[in-house]
């Protein structure tokens, strides 16, 4: 099940169905289901009394919101300036090869999602990869392969 409207209702009620809390509500919904489906957005719009165009405006403005299903494991590679000069392109190639995904893609079994991000604020570790919230400095192909093996 990729989403449940009952859970969406619960999240919206948690904010008192306040339209001012739109972004926070959307963040929570995305955290719960890993993406925002059309049905979830329509339901949220109904509950908050907001027009759909405003929800699409917000969700397409912020890169964090995803309108496509995301994998169970989130992999981000930093391509910010510092990481770039320290070899982010080569790291991204390695990761893409290891996961068999191209950037901004999700595997068919929804196991992994590969994203590029711009600066994570730890440039000294660059080039950086973040795997499910864990920061890794310039992992080798073997290290990447190990992680891929370990994942469910």
């Amino acid at each position: 099940m990729s989403y449940s409207l009952a859970k969406v209702d619960q999240i919206i009620d948690g904010y008192g169905a306040d339209k001012e809390a739109l972004i926070q509500i959307l963040l929570d919904i995305q955290h719960e289901f890993r993406w925002l489906s059309r049905e979830t957005l329509m339901h949220t719009a109904d509950r908050l009394g907001l027009p759909m165009n405003q929800l699409y405006n917000v969700t397409t403005f912020y890169k964090h919101f995803s309108l496509v299903p995301q994998g169970r494991h989130a992999v981000s590679v930093c391509v910010g300036t510092a990481c770039h000069v320290r070899g982010a392109t080569r790291l991204l190639d390695r990761v893409a090869q290891g996961l068999k995904l191209s950037p901004d893609e999700t595997s068919a079994d929804e196991k992994f999602s590969l994203k590029t991000v711009s600066c994570l604020g730890c440039c000294a570790l660059g080039p950086v990869m973040v795997f499910d919230g864990k920061y890794m400095s310039n992992p080798t192909s073997n290290e990447i392969a190990e992680i891929v093996e370990e994942c469910e």
Partner: protein, 223 residues
């Protein structure tokens, strides 16, 4: 509302408290160019052509006159070299999206097309007049923005249009009259391009049950 006095281009002007600089200036017959402003709609401040300089000496600063409210004794300059330079730059940039900018503006500010910028004649300058008209005046929300930065564009939500357009604008699409560039044409209104047909980049696109928003986002390079 009490009367207050402000100085615009050295002229002392009486205006009502709560007015914006733009309203006060226009009331006194002083010209400030605008593209995204309309009396019926809330000020938006997206075209930035209405910038003016306020204050004196080192406290001078540049503000959008359509949004800035006047206060007693405010000193405003609408045509300084700096301001005209800003307007020239804005027009230079706009020329690459809209090749039919009123000549009077181009001449007045000496705007010329610059080969540094790539032509992208979308004829949409993202002023938001149509979107705001649809939202504020009609309450229909048929039009909306998607995306950010260079891929930001106006889209039509036909689901909404089926529900609201006929009742809100029974005779015609009134939003057409608000578009300064004339890009919103009835051709694409409530319809969708045939399968496999490329979306005309200049035109607002449709989002409905069949044409999923993801497809649209894909075409504009968002996903």
């Amino acid at each position: 509302m009490s009367q207050i006095s402000v100085t615009i281009n050295g002229e002392h002007i009486q205006a009502e408290e709560g007015m914006t600089i733009l309203e006060a200036a226009r009331g006194a017959g002083i010209f400030i160019p605008t593209l995204c402003h309309h009396e019926q709609l809330e000020s938006y401040g997206s075209c930035r052509l209405c910038v003016v300089e306020i204050g004196t000496g080192e406290r001078k600063k540049v503000v959008a006159s359509c949004l800035y409210h006047i206060s007693e004794g405010l000193v405003v300059e609408t045509e300084t070299e700096k301001i005209n330079g800003f307007r020239r730059t804005i027009l230079n940039l706009l020329m690459h999206r809209w090749d039919n900018i009123p000549a009077i503006l181009l001449e007045k500010y000496g705007a010329k097309s610059n080969e540094r910028f790539i032509d992208n004649m979308t004829y949409c300058i993202l002023c938001g007049l149509c979107v705001r008209f649809c939202h504020e005046v009609k309450g229909a929300n048929v039009l909306g923005f998607i995306g950010r930065g260079t891929i930001r564009q106006v889209v039509i939500f036909p689901n909404q249009s089926a529900k609201y357009c006929a009742s809100s604008c029974p005779d015609e699409m009134e939003c057409l009259h608000y578009c300064p560039t004339g890009v919103i044409s009835s051709q694409y209104y409530g319809s969708r391009p045939a399968d496999g047909q490329a979306l005309p980049h200049a035109a607002p696109v449709c989002i409905n049950e069949d044409l999923n928003i993801l497809e649209v986002l894909e075409r504009v390079g968002h996903v």
